[in-house]
Symmetry: C2
Subunit: 283 residues, 2 copies
C-alpha cells in the first residue's frame, strides 16, 4: 500500500471538532477538512443554529463529511422544577437539531452541583432521571444520548459524572441504542481503570464516540481552555485508540482541543497540523 | 456539658497547617493556635529548617501543641539514577527533620510524570520502589511515611497517585506502621468510592492523617492556590469526618488551605475564622 493511500485511509476515521478551529466558518471548516481527506467534523449547536441545521447538513454532505457529533446537551442537574423543565426542553431541542443535522450522537455534559448543594450522589441520580425523560425523544429521532464523563476537576461546576465507570453505571440503566458514552482521553487519562472499563463499555456497545486532546500544564485559570495539541502532553493517545479498538469500537476519532493559541493561528494550518499529529501520535 | 467546654474539646482535635496562615511566623502561629485551644499544627520543611527543627519542636511543646505532620517529602518519580538518588537523599533528610520535630507523620507527594514520559503505571511503580528504599529509615526514626493521593488534575506534574485506592494499593505492600495514607478531602471529594476505601484503610490502620479544605471554583491558573475556607465550597466535609471516624480514625483533623486571599488578611483572624468554620462545618 502506498504511503499516500495509508495516510488517506488513516484520515478517513479522523474527525475534527469545530471548537478546535473555531476561527473557521462552517464552510471553511468543511472545505478545509475535505481537502485534507479528514472524514468528519463534530459541530456545536450555536454555529449550527446560526447556519441552519438542514443547510449545515447539506454543506457537510456535499463535502463528503460525516457529522460525528453535536455538542452539546446536558446541564440537567438542577433540582428546582422550572430550571429542570427548561433544561429538558432545551435537550429535546438539541435532539431535534441533531436529527436535522444528520448526526447520530448528541454529546451530553450532565452539569455540576447546583449552587449551595453538596450531595454528588443525589445530583448523579438526577442525571439518570433526566436520561429517563429524554430516552423516548432520542429513540423517536434516531439520535443517541452520549453521556460524557468529565475530568474530576469539573465535578462541582460542570459535570458530576467524573469517571467512565460512573457514566457506564448511569448509561447501563437504559438500552445501549439510546444511551452511550463519550470516551475523551483528556478527561480519563489519569484513571488506571479505563482499559477495564472500556472493555466493559465495548461489550455493552456503549462507546458512542472517542475524543482526543492532550494534557498540558500549567492549566489556565478556569481550566477550560488549556487542552493541548495531540503529542504535546502527557497522554498516551495511541493507547486510547488501541483500548477502544480492542473493545470493538470502529467509529470516528474526534479531536476536540479548546486552546486560544490554536484559535489565533490560521485555521487551515491548524487543521493540517491536527491531521499530521493524528497520523503521528494516534495511528 | 457547657457550650464553652464542647467548643474547647472540639478544637483539641483540630490542627492548622502552617500554609493556611503562612503570613504568621512559627512563634505567632504557636501562640495564636494555643490561645484558641487548637490542638495541633502541621508544619513545612523550609520554615522549620529556618527556625531549627529542635527549636520548633520546643516552641510547639511549650504551647501544648502537637505537630501533626511535616510537609513534605516525595517527588521521587524520576527515572534518571542521579535525580532519583538525590530525591531519596532529600527524603531521608526529611525523615530526620520529622523525627527532630517530634512528629510521627511525614507527608509524601509522590511526584508527577518526568518530562516527555507518558507511562503512569511505570511512574507509580517507581513510587513503590522509593517507598521500599525509605521504609527502613522511617522505621529507625519512628516516623510514618504518609502517601498522599492528589486530585487527578495534578497527575502529570505533581502526583501520579490520584485516588485513595491507588494510594492504598501502594501502601499495602509495606507494614502499616511505616507506610500510611493522607486523606485530604480536597483531593478525594469527587470519588464515590471513598467511603468504601476509607473502610478498607481503617481496617488496615492506614489512615495517617485527615486533611480538609473546601473546593471552590473557578480554579486559578496553575490550580495550586485555589482552595476554599471550610464551608465556602462544594465538599461535604462533615462526611469525611464521619467516614474516617467510622473507619476507626481518631487522629487530628488538619486544615490545609492554600489561598492568597487568606494570606493577605490578619493571620490571627484567619486562625479564629478557621476554628469557627471547623466547629460549624466539620464537628
Amino acid at each position: 500500500m502506498s504511503r499516500a493511500r495509508t495516510t488517506r485511509e488513516g484520515l478517513a476515521r479522523l474527525s475534527v471538532n469545530q471548537e478546535t478551529v473555531r476561527q473557521l466558518s462552517l464552510a471553511e471548516l468543511a472545505r478545509g477538512a475535505a481537502e485534507l481527506g479528514i472524514g468528519g467534523v463534530g459541530l456545536w449547536r450555536e454555529p449550527v443554529r446560526a447556519h441552519g441545521p438542514a443547510a449545515a447538513a447539506r454543506l457537510m454532505r456535499r463535502h463528503g463529511l460525516a457529522v460525528t457529533s453535536l455538542c452539546r446537551g446536558g446541564f440537567f442537574t438542577a433540582r428546582e422544577p422550572a430550571a429542570r423543565r427548561a433544561a429538558l426542553d432545551d435537550n429535546r431541542a438539541a435532539l431535534d437539531e441533531a436529527a436535522e443535522l444528520g448526526t447520530g450522537v448528541l454529546v451530553l455534559v450532565p452539569g455540576g452541583l447546583p449552587e449551595g448543594e453538596r450531595d454528588l450522589a443525589a445530583a448523579r441520580e438526577r442525571v439518570a432521571d433526566a436520561l429517563a425523560e429524554l430516552v423516548p425523544a432520542a429513540r423517536e429521532r434516531g439520535v443517541r444520548l452520549a453521556l460524557e464523563p468529565l475530568h474530576p476537576m469539573y465535578a462541582a461546576d460542570r459535570c458530576v459524572v467524573s469517571t467512565l465507570g460512573q457514566a457506564l453505571d448511569l448509561a447501563g440503566r437504559f438500552p445501549a441504542e439510546e444511551v452511550g458514552v463519550v470516551v475523551d482521553a483528556y478527561h480519563l487519562w489519569w484513571d488506571e481503570r479505563v482499559p477495564r472499563q472500556l472493555a466493559r463499555a465495548g461489550a455493552q456497545h456503549r462507546i458512542a464516540l472517542l475524543q482526543l486532546a492532550d494534557w498540558v500544564t500549567p492549566l489556565p485559570a478556569g481550566v477550560l481552555l488549556g487542552r493541548g495539541q495531540l503529542g504535546d502532553g502527557a497522554i498516551d493517545l495511541r493507547a486510547f485508540r488501541a483500548w477502544t479498538e480492542a473493545a470493538g469500537y470502529r467509529g470516528p476519532v474526534e479531536v476536540e482541543i479548546f486552546n486560544p493559541a490554536l484559535w489565533e493561528r490560521d485555521g487551515t494550518q491548524v487543521l493540517r497540523e491536527t491531521a499530521a499529529r493524528y497520523l503521528r501520535h494516534v495511528l
